[in-house]
């Protein structure tokens, strides 16, 4: 019997206890996967949107999820910055639209490159800046139950639905698109915008342009498209809250595993005494107990990851999330969860292992 067989067999001596412990820590790992999957989904959705638009740099004011409005003439000075190929205003609002409690409304400058990233699935794009028309992302059309020729009410005004588009990103597909002046009028934000999207010239050095823009635009946030979401305070807060919740679940799980390992050690005092009497070194005993603990947690990790992914997939199709947030399910998330499981295993196994390795064999054999 190998060392591996021996330790695994120990876990199977009390199958119910092992299963319950694995389930306990598995739920904790599952919570990590589910909660971080939601947080990263939020950030990933926006990253995908920037990627789909072909935006390299984003200018905004404020660091929360809702950017503060600023003068839309600022874009003119941005356009003069060396290395900037195209810069365009983007006014984004989240509004309650008809039966949908929250929806992204994207007001775009007529003729800007942002319209080019929208692939028309049905109908057409607005035929000019003045047409009182909107196009809907595929998910938005589904959520609003709208088709071509219908109208949609945005705050106090009605717009004709002239097209359905594939924005090639979850955020874009869940949005309503219209010409910026219409949205400015409805929101009473004439001559205001809340984002400038920048596409760099092919020969430009992104870091140099970024540095230059940061100098020129004091008081504004200037980030690469990727950093705009990853450094966003709202996203960071959401992720921190989810980490906090996960940490509590993991802590509870750690104590559960530790308890199981202590119980196991107490029950096997005599047996461990025999192993020591047979010549097993303290380090080997220590390794055995830690290995048992880690094996428990790796099993829990597998179950937890499957549980977390399953939960995310179910959540993604619920009415609360469908069309609003696409959870992130990636190998890196699973790997992190598995690393955490191993970490929990090491942490919860070390104390019982230390205790076990100090057993006096003669005293243990008398038990």
């Amino acid at each position: 019997m190998t060392f591996l067989d021996f330790t695994l067999k120990n876990l199977l001596r009390r199958p119910i206890r092992t299963i319950l412990t694995v389930m306990g820590i598995g739920v904790g790992i599952g919570a990590v996967v589910a909660l971080l999957g939601l947080a990263r989904g939020l950030s990933q959705s926006w990253n995908d949107a920037y990627k789909a638009r072909g935006t390299d740099i984003v200018v905004r004011k404020g660091s929360g999820l809702q950017a503060q409005p600023f003068d839309d003439k600022l874009v003119e000075s941005v356009r003069k910055t060396p290395g900037v190929d195209i810069a365009t205003n983007l006014l984004v609002e989240t509004l309650s639209i008809e039966e949908v409690p929250l929806m992204i409304i994207s007001g775009r400058e007529w003729g800007s490159y942002l319209w080019d990233s929208l692939k028309v699935v049905q109908g057409r794009l607005p035929n000019g800046p003045d047409e009182k028309a909107v196009v809907l992302g595929t998910l938005a059309a589904e959520a609003l139950k709208k088709k071509l020729g219908d109208t949609v009410m945005i705050e106090t005004e009605e717009f004709a639905v002239v097209g359905v588009v594939d924005g090639k990103a979850f955020v874009e597909n869940g949005s309503i698109f219209l010409n910026a002046p219409h949205l400015q009028r409805i929101m009473q934000k004439e001559n205001r915008t809340n984002f400038i999207n920048i596409r760099l010239a092919k020969s430009a050095d992104p870091q140099a342009v970024l540095k230059q823009l940061k100098q020129e635009l004091a008081g504004y946030r200037v980030d690469t498209a990727h950093d705009d979401t990853s450094t966003n305070d709202g996203v960071k807060t959401f992720e921190a809250m989810n980490w906090g919740t996960s940490a509590i679940a993991l802590l509870v799980g750690t104590f559960g595993v530790m308890n199981t390992m202590f119980m196991s050690v107490f029950e096997r005092t005599r047996e461990i005494g025999i192993l020591i009497a047979l010549g097993w070194r303290q380090a080997r005993i220590l390794r055995m107990i830690v290995f048992e603990s880690v094996a428990l947690c790796v099993g829990a990790g597998v179950i937890g990851i499957l549980f977390g992914i399953g939960l995310l997939k179910v959540l993604a199709v619920t009415p609360w999330m469908s069309g609003k947030l696409e959870p992130y399910i990636g190998w890196d998330l699973s790997a992190e969860a598995m690393l955490l499981a191993v970490g929990v295993g090491l942490l919860s196994g070390i104390l019982p292992a230390l205790r076990c390795s100090k057993i006096n064999p003669s005293a243990a054999l008398l038990q």
Binding site: S96, E98, P101, K132, M153, E155, E157
Partner: protein, 262 residues
């Protein structure tokens, strides 16, 4: 109670800075809330969901409010969605020491003045009534602190306000006022009995750009009927300057027509 009281507390009363309120009397709380009344106009956009058993209906509305020169307040409640009800409106004018004046507008039917007998008629078919919008327990003169309790994130003082006249409805209002944010987390309205007839509960409060704490979402439960209306703020604008004719009948009627899609 319902939208009126809540909006009164939302729009009119909720911005006193955190102070040590230990030892405050009920009247001091009420006075502080009234003192915090913002000046100028406001525009609030709300989403109203009415649940009646398994059925749910949604109304989007805007509420415009402005102070009149004579100390009175004019409020306009206007439906923006659904489309077939766009423009339905209620205009309320209240002046200290004077009876209320109110009228409704239904596109195609025109304006109808409301009388005292219409006070209990529903607002836009929801659990809210005109009376709810009118009643302002802050103006009553019998207030008493009856306890304290934490409601959600707010440490609250419970104030019981009794109607000045016996036999009036509501007879009593109990409000849970946040000790630091001066926002009402819960309001219970009594119609004479010992059990509340209606209850309003805020789900979350936010600070507006003007520095006022306001409930963003609150629910109104008609405990007798078992129906529930949820009102969620979707946008607000303080210090709004309204033109003289923004509250006129012609403007209200024109809103129903809308600019169209041409």
């Amino acid at each position: 109670m319902r939208l009126g009281i809540f909006l009164t507390t939302i729009v009119c009363a909720l911005s006193v800075h955190a102070e040590d309120t230990k030892g405050w009397s009920a009247s001091q709380f009420i006075a502080a809330m009234k003192e915090a009344k913002p000046k100028g106009g406001t525009l609030i956009r709300v989403r109203i969901e009415q649940r009646n058993g398994g059925e749910k209906s949604t109304i989007l509305a805007q509420i415009k409010r402005h102070d009149m020169g004579d100390g009175g307040t004019e409020q306009l409640y206007q439906i923006t969605y659904p489309k077939d009800r766009k423009g339905e409106a209620l205009v309320l004018v209240t002046k200290p020491g004077a009876p209320f004046s109110a009228k409704t507008f239904i596109p195609g039917k025109g304006f109808t003045a409301l009388t005292a007998a219409d006070k209990r008629s529903p607002l836009f078919g929801t659990d809210l009534t005109v009376e709810d919008l009118l009643v302002d327990f802050l103006d009553w003169n019998k207030h008493e602190i009856v306890g304290g309790e934490k409601v959600r994130s707010g440490e609250c003082t419970i104030i019981e306000s009794n109607a000045p006249k016996t036999g009036s409805f509501p007879s009593k209002v109990k409000s849970w006022i946040d000790n630091t944010r001066f926002v009402a987390w819960r309001i219970q309205v009594f119609d004479g009995g010992n059990q509340p007839a209606r209850e309003v509960e805020a789900e979350d409060v936010v600070r507006t750009s003007g520095g006022h704490w306001v409930p963003r979402t609150f629910s109104v439960t008609n405990l007798a009927k078992g129906t529930k209306t949820t009102v969620a703020g979707t946008g607000s604008d303080e210090d709004k300057q309204y033109a003289e004719n923004d509250f006129s009948e012609a403007t209200i009627a024109a809103f129903a027509q809308g600019p169209g899609i041409k």
